[in-house]
Symmetry: C2
């Protein structure tokens, strides 16, 4: 059981997470980094050893980079850059009918434009090691049984699990409970009652992981192989020389019952589809049959906003577009920072309400896409599949997951650049002023649960009076930003993250020294020789590691890519959420009378929408 490095006045946990798959571990890892005392239970004896999910999408790779955990995965994973289509019919032998770049740069703007094939157990392992460094272990062999809430008890949730080693009930009192316990989630069943969540079509596929021998030439690309007579295969290269094959069990021409689909039968069918190429297995690591329908739970939290579900517990779908692990982890990524601010008493109820608003939309987008995708693979129609892909490729990559307007996301009218409220930051390189390092601005500031407030201006000196006044106000108790910062200082002093060896190298205080909830940053197109750190307002001088020169990219510059052109005296402010989504964007002419007061009001209004102090 985990208590962080603090004395706990009572035995109430702050958060209990049920399920130590990638989603539950992502949530726990995030919460523990933010300093929240989190307990994670799982019914299994150990982490996933074989099978299950295996693909990380570009946005997920970026997320792991932000967490400082990508290294071992990038070193070990297999990268898929292209997709090939093969077709045969009664008249024509199997032939390549198409080959496409999986993530064309003109459509999907990412630093890592590939799917990274890494086994789910490796992803879990990365998190388990990360948690261990922070003093947290998964409580294993402890399935969740039920929970209850008494209204008079300040919404404390009473959780019951079963310790399989002793057979006894293991109770937990907690402020928040999150079910990351998979498609058959018990947390969901208690939360939503007997009401089943919506459900669409089912299809059945066999899955085989192993080392194959074949003369099929595209076995190291992602390949969709469709035989009009024998059905379809999706072929995915894997780490450790393995290949994963998804083999259709219900093709129109030759359906068989899922129960009759033994490993031998599935292998036989795969060989039929692959003809005239040879196919045999040197080893088989995992064989499974899945019949997953597309489903979305009707609610992702209870009315009190103390109990949540995430990942497969909240939505399920076909695994063939390598979405499950990715969407699950990003449910957690979305929820964690909101729970952090709520536990600390720094957020209104409106903040936690955005979790369901935002992630239910993504789940529905996913189901819409998945239905068409699975149908196109079964149909074996390369044109339909390619169309479905092109239409959805940004979504599949993860960077196309976009949220609707709410208290966090202000969509704004006529944005001149590429940034949008409710969408992710775009990749952009700038130079860090203080040490001349070129950095990726969208990833650069360590993720410590804080918002990022970026000022953009072509000229720090003419905007000086404007910046001085805005910075003075947001640092003062006259604004919600100042008040929340002050309250956060006390909260983090009482409840602070475990210090790790990496902190010595990251130096988090460079980013949250001025405020635990906001990192202030300024980006300018000025030449380095024309500006010194002492030219900045004091608040930005105190945050001197986040002063950037927009000097790396040309046509467009970072400023232009994100915001369009700024005129000579213009200042833009971009509010970025802790999860890297853009919140809102404002622009002012810095030398207009009253522009500074207007900017202060604009910031105050935005943050009052969901923060309190």
């Amino acid at each position: 059981m985990v208590n962080g490095n603090h004395d706990v006045k009572e035995s109430t946990h702050q958060v209990v997470v049920v399920g130590a798959g990638p989603g539950g571990l992502m949530l726990t890892s995030n919460l523990v980094r933010y300093g929240i005392k989190t307990t994670i239970v799982d019914d299994r004896v150990d982490k996933t050893s074989t099978g299950r999910a295996d693909g990380l999408q570009p946005k997920t790779i970026e997320t792991f980079k932000q967490l400082g955990l990508a290294g071992p995965l990038l070193q070990r994973g297999v990268r898929i850059y292209d997709i090939c289509f093969w077709n045969s019919s009664a008249e024509t032998t199997l032939r390549r009918t198409g080959r496409e770049i999986h993530y064309p740069p003109e459509v999907v703007d990412v630093e890592e434009p590939y799917i990274l094939l890494v086994h789910q157990g490796m992803v879990e392992d990365i998190f388990l090691k990360d948690l261990r460094l922070r003093g947290v272990e998964v409580i294993r062999s402890t399935p969740f049984s039920s929970y209850s809430q008494k209204k008079e008890a300040n919404s404390i949730v009473e959780v019951e699990c079963t310790d399989l080693k002793t057979g006894r009930i293991r109770p937990f009192k907690t402020q928040y409970l999150v079910g990351c316990d998979g498609a058959h989630s018990k947390v969901r069943k208690v939360m939503l009652g007997a009401v089943e969540h919506t459900q669409a079509s089912k299809s059945a596929w066999g899955v085989l992981d192993g080392v194959i021998e074949t003369d099929f030439p595209d076995r190291w690309s992602k390949a969709v192989i469709s035989s009009e007579t024998a059905g379809s295969i999706l072929c995915i290269p894997r780490e450790r020389n393995m290949t994963r094959l998804y083999i259709e069990l219900h093709p129109a021409e030759a359906p068989i019952s899922s129960d009759a689909a033994t490993e031998e039968f599935v292998m036989w069918r795969a060989k039929e589809i692959m003809k005239p190429f040879t196919l045999s297995w040197k080893t088989v690591e995992w064989f499974g049959i899945y019949k997953v329908g597309q489903r979305v739970a009707k609610a992702f939290s209870d009315d009190s906003q103390r109990v949540f579900i995430a990942g497969d517990a909240a939505h399920s779908h076909s695994p063939k577009a390598a979405q499950g692990m990715n969407v699950s982890m990003h449910d957690s990524f979305n929820l964690a920072w909101k729970i952090n601010l709520s536990v600390r008493g720094l957020a209104n109820d409106s903040l936690l309400a955005t979790y369901q608003q935002e992630r239910k939309k993504i789940a529905e987008d996913l189901i819409d896409f998945d239905f068409g995708h699975a149908t196109a693979i079964s149909a074996g129609d390369p044109v339909a599949l390619a169309d479905n892909f092109t239409k959805n490729i940004r979504f599949i990559s993860g960077v196309g997951a976009e949220y609707s307007e709410n208290v966090l996301n202000v969509l704004g009218k006529n944005p001149k650049g590429g940034l949008r409220g409710g969408s992710l930051l775009l990749p952009a390189k700038v130079t860090r002023y203080i040490d001349a390092n070129p950095v990726d601005l969208q990833l650069e500031i360590p993720m410590l649960g804080q918002f990022r407030i970026f000022f953009f201006t072509p000229d720090v000196k003419t905007a000086c009076a404007f910046l001085d006044r805005v910075c003075d106000e947001i640092a003062s108790p006259r604004t919600i930003l100042g008040r929340v910062s002050q309250a956060a200082t006390a909260s983090y002093a009482a409840l602070s993250p475990v210090h790790t060896e990496m902190d010595e190298f990251v130096q988090p205080n460079r980013y949250i020294g001025a405020s635990k909830v906001f990192t202030y940053s300024i980006v300018t197109t000025m030449n380095k020789d024309d500006v010194e750190i002492r030219d900045l307002p004091q608040l930005l001088q105190d945050s001197c590691w986040t002063f950037y020169l927009d000097s790396v990219m040309k046509e467009p510059t970072c400023t232009e890519k994100w915001l369009g052109k700024l005129s000579e005296h213009e200042v833009a402010i971009v509010n970025v959420r802790p999860d890297g989504y853009v919140g809102s964007i404002g622009r002012w002419n810095a030398i207009d009378v009253g522009a500074d007061d207007e900017a202060v009001r604009w910031l105050d209004t935005y943050y009052k929408g969901f923060l309190k102090a």
Copy 2:
């Protein structure tokens, strides 16, 4: 003591390495990867905890990437991209007189154009962990005492060390002995006798590592600060928020004796030089005085070529250009693969002779540069220092370390592209045919102690007959390549590297499945749709993971950058040494009668120069 995973018939070691600094550990790590049973002893109780070397140059970062060991260093190190110059005199206050990019891309063509500041102890730690995975531990508290050789004993070296824990002599018999035991090397003293190696000027500097407080604005750049009256400082940002200051003790105007240079005095002088900026220390991690002269040992090996010295044991110089650790490790990098082939009986004596030829030249180049560099820093003349830098910046980065003509390096006349015998490969991106992954060709093929033989051709199909014939011959016992490959198969079966978890992911057999000594590779500018793996000669089909499309770079393509333009029927062959240096380059018109035989003879002649079987 280390025996790899083999039974040893007798108690003779294959290699004994004295000294577990970065040079000795690099050597051991390389040898153990190649399957050589290596024992490493050190007089110290543990790895370096503070002080000493701290900078990795671009080429060294590349080397660590090749070894798969760069990740933790890149994640933890501080990156220096620029250098600033500050000057003051009796008349003028301290002011910035210049600012330069440290490694301008038009001069230094590298993927990582910065100095990576990481403490020597971190570098040692990376190697220690790597060795542990391969079953090797450093034998500590065991200083080297002496060695002797009996001629009749097949040049076996008898080494004596002292076990400090028991006080007893600890003897080792070994085929090879390498002294990586620093500037006061005992191995060198035994090998060269009382004869001191050549020595040039001495200068004395104080060094301070710690967390400083200062309002000096360029503290996170490399900065040379020269006061005409008080002397010079070299200021280097370090990991963990630290700064290293090198402070001159013997400026012309105010020299003091090294013995009088206490920590307090050195701090006082640093403060004087930095005026009017403030300077104080929050913590001091290390303080040292160094007086290192520039020296090169007269020989780097004994006459029998069984005993070698490397690193500071062979050459020493000022630390201020961050060269020591880098050059030392590359001495080892140069020596390791040559010892591997020699232990296996696959090399002539001419191969080991190239170690001294090549690395003594680099040591002399280093001393030449270092003398001018140290003088310019002392003189405080920014123009002279900048000139010295510009002239030497390729050498400082490590990519300018070039070897002279010998059996390995054929310089060739009128090369049309950028590659030169005796120089490193140049960075170039290509697409791996089999899985469409874009890769860095200079780093792509795992370093397994083998040569890389690259065929370049604009058209695999018209060059088909030529390639078929050449590949047939080099795979057959009619050539030295075939005979060495056959002998190597037996040698590696008897003496094979320890299998590690990473091998499962790297799949080394993809690269040395066809030959343990050569990876065969082909690079073509053809479109992917116009060529299949089955169009290649069998030897290249067997090496299908090293078939590359020159489709990533434009103007110049990889082919053009490396070799200049190839005409329609031309085939170029590039022999690349196991350490990434170009050996020789040949070009043929593939459709000329007899061109294939000529190419085979050319390859045979080159490899006969130093290999045997």
